[in-house]
Amino acid sequence: MASALDHVAWEACLLDPRRDRALESYARRKMGMPVPSIRYFTSVPWFARALIDLHPEYGLLMHLDQHTADVLTLVVSQENSCRFCYAAQRALLWAQGMSEARIQRVEQNLSRADLVPRTVAAIAFGRSQSRVGPAGAQEALQALRRAGFSDDEMKEIAFTVATTDFLNRAFSIPAIPSRPLEQMPEQMHMRLLRPLINRVLQRHRFRGRATPLERLPSYPYVRLVKAYAGSPIAPALGQTIEEMWASSHLTRRCKLLMLAVVARGLGCQVCAFEVSEALQREGLHEPTLTQVLTHLDAPDLDVLERLLVRFARDTIWFEPAALQRRTRGLRDYLSGPQLLEAIGVASLANGLCRLGAMVMGHS
């Protein structure tokens, strides 16, 4: 199945798959079928769970129609050149009964001007957020409003774009193999199973229901989670953030430094302020933080922090193969779980900072 991203260079996978029955069955229960890619992420459970829990297909969207969410996922994955996510989204469309010709028409239509204004505005928003980040957020949000999206729909669009940015990095940085997904429609047994797969997928793709927010995550990002209060997005986001802080492969200070660098690189004032405050509570002096944010280095940083602030910066705008090669170089300095957690934190930082600018600026 030829796709628009076939020419995107993709290195050999950086991670070794490792079985974890509990996580695999968690993914299977939630998504309705085995998720083989989850095995690459099992050494950092919060990251593996986030890939499942933050996926916009499964019970998180209450207001935005699924078609717009699907188109956004495809567009953002295309912008980020994520072969894995793009192939996954294509495989999903194929499993739902779309022919190859029709999928290609959908792809071609993404750039056509004769789409309904709502879809055009949503696509433009997805592209602008992936290309320029927070700098273009307000202008893109205005365009969404003019196209008739409600406040709740706009927040779900922002979430879909941000979470796709997160998923794209999670799969692109370690070069998770995309071939199995790309070849799926060509395999005879998958063709025979296609109606069954479709039924299972339909059963597990469900609309979100109002969910009370029972616990707020510890500072920072409280405001961001609160902005989704009442939606199932809030507890999913809150739990992911909490679990990320609780994981011990990297220190909290190191994770905060990575978040601060991404916020600075994207120009997200709201996140930068919150993360800076959190870093000062961790005992990092302001001049050191200023030096880190200005030059990605400071004498007070340890070797790991020095490496990871630079790595975090590399994940903001990237070409997959170049980033994959650079990340491979980190394997000499980090343990497997440390590297995976670093990929998780950087990926989440990119999603959260984009979401922060879109939603907190908006609300």
Binding site: A2, R264, L296, E319
Partner: protein, 270 residues
């Protein structure tokens, strides 16, 4: 008799339908292979175009379905311009066979471009034996000055290594001059209706080119302006040079030669 006629008629109809179906299938196959060939050509074209514009720009033009004669709007940005030029190129070009000269130049362009790419810069254009590169022109980059100077140091190292190869082949050594300045300008696709190129236009590009020329006067290889120095990581070792007048500016310009990065704390990754 009637049955025979009916059977014959049915057979004829089946044969005609079969023939039509066969023709249609062949036509479909033909169209599919044409479509695949067109897609392959488009792919080659896209790859060729990506050599003419910064990475990502071509894909975006295609994704946005940009029509000829139109294009994304140019935007005002603050970017860092780097200008690198070969020292003594004219004399060398007179001594070498054209084929050898072209090979030496290709090696130089490749190594310089790799150093620029590696440090998140974009090659804007090749101007004779010079190269113009931008940092922070296509995407926001608050670390653009550090990136540009790191790229310049990588270029210096790459030329040293290349000179080793040239020595082994008995070819003349290359030396470069690099000028770096930062300032506001206009970034985007620019040009005539028929021919456009991605460019960053601003005073800093001209200043970078003229500062590069000062490397001959000061007998150094990398010079940055005061604007760049003010934004630079204090870990870089800089040496102030005497102020020199440059064309287009009323006051003499202070420049700083870049020696190296003082701290060896960074592990080399990637």
């Amino acid at each position: 008799m009637t049955w025979t006629v009916v059977t014959a008629a049915v057979l004829v109809i089946i044969a005609i339908l079969g023939g039509a179906l066969y023709r249609q299938r062949r036509l479909n196959q033909n169209l599919r292979s044409q479509l695949e060939a067109a897609a392959a050509n488009l792919e080659k074209l896209q790859q060729a175009c990506s050599r003419l514009a910064p990475a990502g720009v071509v894909q975006r033009l295609i994704a946005d379905d940009v029509q000829p004669g139109t294009g994304p709007k140019a935007e005002r940005k603050v970017a860092t311009a780097l200008f690198v030029d070969l020292v003594g190129f004219t004399a060398m070009s007179e001594r070498l066979e054209p084929a050898v000269l072209a090979r030496v130049l290709d090696g130089y362009y490749q190594r310089m471009s790799d150093a620029i790419d590696e440090h998140r810069g974009q090659v804007g254009s090749f101007v004779g034996d010079g190269i113009v590169a931008y940092f922070g022109a296509t995407q926001p980059n608050p670390w653009q000055c550090d990136d540009a100077v790191r790229a310049a140091l990588a270029m210096r190292a790459a030329i040293d290594e290349y000179n080793g190869e040239l020595d082994r082949e008995g070819l003349p050594r290359l030396s470069i001059g690099i000028g770096i300045d930062r300032g506001p300008g206009l970034a985007g696709l620019m040009g005539s209706r028929d021919r456009k190129e991605y460019a960053f236009i601003g005073r800093s590009v001209n200043i970078a080119a003229r500062v590069q020329a000062l490397t001959r006067i000061h007998q150094v290889d990398i010079l940055v302006t005061e604007t760049v120095r003010d934004d630079l990581d204090p870990g870089f070792v800089l040496v102030p040079m005497p102020a020199e007048p440059i064309k287009g500016l009323t006051k003499p310009v202070m420049t700083y030669a870049v020696r190296r990065r003082s701290t060896g704390r960074e592990p080399a990754v990637g």
